[in-house]
């Protein structure tokens, strides 16, 4: 068997998952992107350009923070938070958009498009577009536009055009459909920045590679600060980019448990969730084969989560593979558990996590409580919660 770290294969497969399931018009563009990427990613100049931006624009490395009060509260393993919330624009998404915007620049594309759920990827795309002077169009479901008003306005301030998507479930998957339609139509001058480790090859690979800076840092910081590798690494999984970013550099460290936390919504048995790895089946959507939420006729089911960024019926193909081979484990946290963690982390540590990240915190704390005090859990705090204050205030019955 090929070692998991060496995947995907040349056609973009992770075992039976991944690949390129797109209409013919996009093939030339995907080939061009793959070739450009493979060449640039090997080049020291490109790496240097990426690293420089990571340091001076994003503010990396992000700290690995020992959350002592949180750890004490759960009475088990020491909990460390990988602080992606401190990145410029407030989430891990910027690591990927910096990388892909560099690709767009090298490919000479004057226009970029993106899909967004929570708005974090849209903001990160609008940010890099502003900086490089590129036209930017962001597709966003109208349901998400309503629950992430702050980010919508941020994107507009950054000069991006936000196009509301009114079809289907009016959330992330529909925004992705619409972005694909735009790309097919404007493929000559447009670069599509996919915001997660999904989509057709080479996206899952290149998004993973750009996001792997999280795991490389976390691994090094664990050794420096704790003198050892963590016993478990926990991350939330929407499309799976922050999770694969922190998991991937640990794949060969077989003693490190890797745990992805999906959105359990009202409970994975309720039918109202966004947890394809927990209760889905393999299928084909958005250009790749992966675990999906689809009914017995193959129609994609409406996902549900309190967090717009996890509200997606599929998942990046590499996670499907890691699940099948047992190298990573996947579980879910409910809306209620995530909300509890949102408040708890804010009160105990003065860190307000994104609702997406709160899912990882919820499971990470539960796990830590079952472990010994000299053990160590790293939770990827993928983003900050400012954008979610409206959602939480609504629940508290507070109007601004």
């Amino acid at each position: 068997m090929t070692e998991p770290v060496a995947l995907p294969d040349a056609e973009g497969h992770f075992g039976p998952y991944g690949g390129r399931f797109v209409s013919e018009t996009l093939f030339a563009a995907l080939d061009e992107l793959r070739d450009t990427y493979e060449q640039l990613w090997q080049s020291p100049e490109f790496q240097a350009e990426f690293d420089l931006d990571m340091a001076h624009y994003v503010g990396r490395p992000s700290p690995l923070y020992h959350a002592k009060r949180l750890s004490e509260t759960y009475g088990g393993a020491q909990i460390y938070l990988k602080r992606e919330d401190l990145n410029h624009t407030g989430a891990h998404k910027i690591n990927n958009t910096i990388g892909q915007a560099l690709l767009a620049k090298h490919m000479g594309k004057p226009r970029i498009i993106a899909e967004t759920g929570a708005g974090q990827h849209g903001v990160a795309s609008a940010t890099v577009a502003a900086r490089l002077g590129l036209e930017c169009v962001v597709y966003m479901g109208v349901k998400d536009i309503r629950r992430q008003t702050l980010n919508v306005y941020r994107m507009k301030l950054l000069g991006a055009t936000v196009i509301g998507v009114d079809s289907g479930t009016k959330t992330l998957k529909d925004a992705m459909n619409e972005a694909m339609r735009d790309w097919v139509t404007n493929v000559d001058n447009t670069y599509y920045i996919i915001g997660t480790a999904a989509g057709p090859h080479p996206y899952p690979k290149l998004v993973r590679d750009f996001q792997s800076i999280i795991g490389r840092e976390a691994r090094r910081q664990s050794l420096e600060q704790a003198g050892k590798l963590p016993d478990a690494v926990v991350a939330c999984v929407g499309g799976g980019s922050n999770a694969i970013g922190i998991f991937h550099p640990f794949l060969d460290d077989k003693d490190v448990r890797l745990i992805g936390v999906e959105a359990g919504g009202h409970g994975v048995d309720s039918g109202q969730h966004a947890a394809p790895l927990s209760v889905g089946t393999p299928g084909v959507l958005h250009g790749n084969r992966t675990y999906l939420m689809s009914d017995e006729n193959g129609q994609i089911q409406d996902p549900y989560s309190i967090s717009a960024g996890l509200d997606y019926p599929g998942v990046g193909p590499e996670h499907s593979y890691l699940k099948d081979i047992g190298r990573a484990e996947y579980t879910a946290a409910t809306d209620e558990e995530a909300l509890h963690s949102f408040r708890e982390l804010t009160l105990l540590e003065g860190i307000m996590p994104a609702l997406e990240s709160s899912h990882a915190v919820a499971h990470g704390c539960k796990l830590a409580s079952t472990m010994a005090k000299d053990q160590m859990v790293v939770i990827n705090l993928s983003g900050r919660g400012d954008k979610d204050i409206h959602t939480v205030a609504d629940i508290d019955g507070i109007e601004f």
């Binding site: 399931f21 013919e24 563009a29 694909m180 339609r181 959507l285 958005h286 129609q299």
Partner: protein
């Protein structure tokens, strides 16, 4: 000879081109589809493309997306669609029927189950918009073993190298997507289409159908001068959508459009 090959061969001897309407199965409701198929044949259709409705039709524009939503509101499933084909075959044993859609519906049914059912129903060909030749190897083989044609797309952006690859695995006919975009988008540029078709012809004997952007008798007849088949979809689907409450009216408009196209193509 397969029904599709036979159909194109017969047209060729007559010096005519195939008129290939697309409608989404189950739109505006499942009771309409089989009758509409017969009406389209009577109006001059040579091959029928039946769309499998999908919740996330990424390669389609708003017109066909709405058709999918109407069909899915009536729970139109792949199983039902194969039953429609079988029902159509009770009265029509000559007109080829091709299913067009997205892979997940077939994947979920199971490839072997689908092929067996499709063969039993009297289906002729399958075109999965999101299944390129390199991902579809096993499926293409089992279709061939069952005597079903695997129809693939060629786009304006397809390189010559890929054209060769696609011609090598495709059967029945090849479907040339006339423009960069989704179904129902802008108008067709016949000169550019002709250029690309000439290139494709160097690599295949298969008939070439052209679709996307054909909306009226004029564009149909212009495309018929350079291709072997003319695929028309969104304009028909639009008529069905506009008249969803009175499906007979929608069907009558479809018939009128096809009749005009047929006349212009044969003129």
């Amino acid at each position: 000879m397969s029904r599709i090959a036979g159909c194109f061969a017969a047209l060729k001897t007559q010096g005519r081109q195939a008129l290939i309407p697309y409608v989404t199965a189950g739109d505006p409701n499942p009771d309409v589809t089989v009758g509409l198929m017969h009406q389209m044949v009577a109006a001059g259709a040579d091959v029928i493309e039946l769309g499998i409705p999908f919740s996330d039709p990424m390669a389609d524009g708003p017109v066909i997306q709405l058709a999918c939503e109407r069909a899915l509101a009536h729970n139109t499933s792949l199983t039902m669609i194969l039953a429609m084909v079988a029902e159509f075959r009770q009265q029509n044993n000559t007109t080829p029927v091709v299913l067009m859609g997205y892979l997940n519906t077939v994947e979920r049914m199971g490839y072997d189950v689908f092929v067996a059912k499709a063969q039993a129903a009297g289906l002729d060909g399958v075109l999965m918009v999101d299944l390129p030749p390199e991902e579809g190897h096993n499926f293409t083989q089992s279709l061939a073993q069952a005597g079903l044609d695997a129809i693939f797309l060629i786009a304006p952006t397809t390189t010559e190298e890929r054209i060769k690859k696609i011609c090598a695995v495709g059967s029945g006919y090849l479907y040339y997507v006339s423009l960069k975009g989704v179904t129902g988008s802008a108008k067709i540029n016949t000169n550019e289409v002709a250029k690309k078709l000439a290139l494709v012809k160097q690599h295949t004997q298969l008939p070439l159908g052209v679709g996307f952007g054909i909306r009226d008798a004029d564009s149909a007849s212009r495309v018929a001068k350079v291709a072997d088949g003319v695929v028309v979809g969104s304009v028909l689907v639009n008529a069905l959508g506009d008249n969803q409450d009175v499906p007979e009216n929608g069907c009558a408009q479809v018939v009128a459009t096809l009749t005009a196209m047929r006349q212009a193509m044969d003129a």
